[in-house]
Symmetry: C2
Subunit: 282 residues, 2 copies
């Protein structure tokens, strides 16, 4: 398994505090040491740093901890390999261009018997179930919308349909961003928090570091942080429910949906809709 | 205009010596200070570092100068903006996935009245003529070969047809790699050299630094370096002829073609083939 970290902000914000705690889990407070990656959007483009070294040892991770890159959308990942070798091509996050924007994806989980047919428009470079699921998601978006970029709401609705189908193959927690907003989905484990005015102090779990956000922010700042396991002691993190999808923009959730629950409710009303699923494992 | 640096090697090699000299041109020995980028392949995947700061000032460039990343195919670029703002999305090299490989492209030159019709399969994220020409090249490859990866020779033949058509719009010097090999093309200025056994010492033009390659290499090493302007005093750099395309693999040129000359020769034999071109500017 792996761990995810996402950030979506109202104003460009650096992630050094959260990343310092998160990257400790790549060998010090946990054993997610089979590569790391982090992507920072600037408008439609992004900087993507990946390494097949651990986020504790990698000089690239050291740069990220010390060089405050400000961004409205960030996705990071530390890997504990389950499928695919420890190579650069298997390091998350993965990137593809669609509709003249970069899209970034990172996955926590494990998919089994997942062999979707791809059009060829997006092809995995490595051999992880994660990159395959990313290519499949984008393939389905192109199948639905063609080469005309849809509105965020329409993308959300489409992802809400596709994601539970992939999740039938196992654990499927992900963060996905196109630089405009951050889509997140969890079948087993993901947490989120919004930090906003009046800001408080926060104390990392993985490292003896505290920050008083009220000293380093303005009232216009607002930051949503999404992570596999909470990063701080003294803040209230919200756990995703099984099958929950949340779209973050401007540092707050703007759409939430309970995809699996919705489907189970539909199935309960009309048993003919029922498919063979592993929904009980969510 | 911009400057290009490419490297293709028989064995994974670090580019720190050449990049140290090259990056001086981003503000010290020349004024190419509007962003920089460098991509290192590892098999089919690559690490891409881009910054809209100059390669002299960027902490990311400093990391690249000091952290010897070994690779068989490297493409770097320092930018002096002619078209498109100084933003991350306009920083070369550009990356796209095709046939399950990352493709990396960097351009030196300026294209005018270049408004090709794109299929939507590859769309520019920024607004440079360079990224547009990259998307057009890849679009044409997909149009010709579909979603089945062709052999390198076939890609070379296709690029040899497409590149002069783009070059009718201006200056078109580029380096392109898919991690297997490095394609290069020049209409005005590009130089190359092969360093191989018995290795010699080399002395940078842009910085008072010398290296004796015989001390840091083995007989199996062989490195081709491609660059806009020669990087060293005491080595013999080959200048590309106008319209020359060279494919490098395993650290040496494996195919060379004089695309423009070939076309002019064909046209001389059969004047009905003649099109209105700006061939005299090559």
């Amino acid at each position: 398994m792996c761990q995810l970290l996402g950030m979506n902000c109202a104003t460009p914000t650096d992630i050094t505090f959260s990343f310092r705690g998160f990257s400790q889990r790549a060998g010090i407070t946990s054993d997610h040491s089979d590569g790391f990656g982090i992507a920072f959007f600037e408008d439609k483009a992004c900087r993507l740093f990946v390494d097949n070294q651990s986020a504790v040892e990698s000089p690239i991770a050291e740069l990220v901890r010390n060089y405050p890159i400000k961004s409205r959308n960030v996705i990071a990942h530390i890997r504990k390999a389950t499928q695919g070798k420890i190579t650069l091509e298997n390091s998350h996050p993965f990137v593809r261009e669609l509709w003249g924007r970069q899209w970034i994806f990172a996955h926590n989980g494990d998919l089994h018997d997942f062999h979707p047919r791809l059009s060829g428009r997006f092809t995995p470079v490595g051999n992880t179930d994660s990159e395959l699921s990313f290519c499949y998601l984008l393939d389905k978006l192109v199948e639905k919308f063609g080469y005309h970029e849809p509105a965020l709401n329409d993308i959300f609705t489409a992802l809400k349909e596709i994601s539970p189908q992939i999740a039938e193959h196992g654990t499927f927690n992900f963060c996905l961003s196109n630089g405009q907003a951050l889509f997140s989905y969890a079948t087993t484990k993901l947490h989120w928090i919004v930090r906003e005015y009046p800001f408080q102090h926060a104390s990392l779990i993985d490292l003896d570091v505290e920050v008083d956000f009220s000293e380093v922010t303005t009232p216009e700042d607002r930051v949503a942080v999404i992570t596999t396991e909470p990063l701080t002691h003294n803040e209230v993190w919200q756990a995703y429910q099984a099958g929950e999808m949340i779209l973050f923009q401007h540092g707050r959730p703007i759409k939430q949906a309970m995809t699996v629950v919705e489907r189970l409710q539909r199935e309960a009303k009309d048993p003919s809709l029922k498919r063979v699923t592993k929904a009980d494992q969510y």
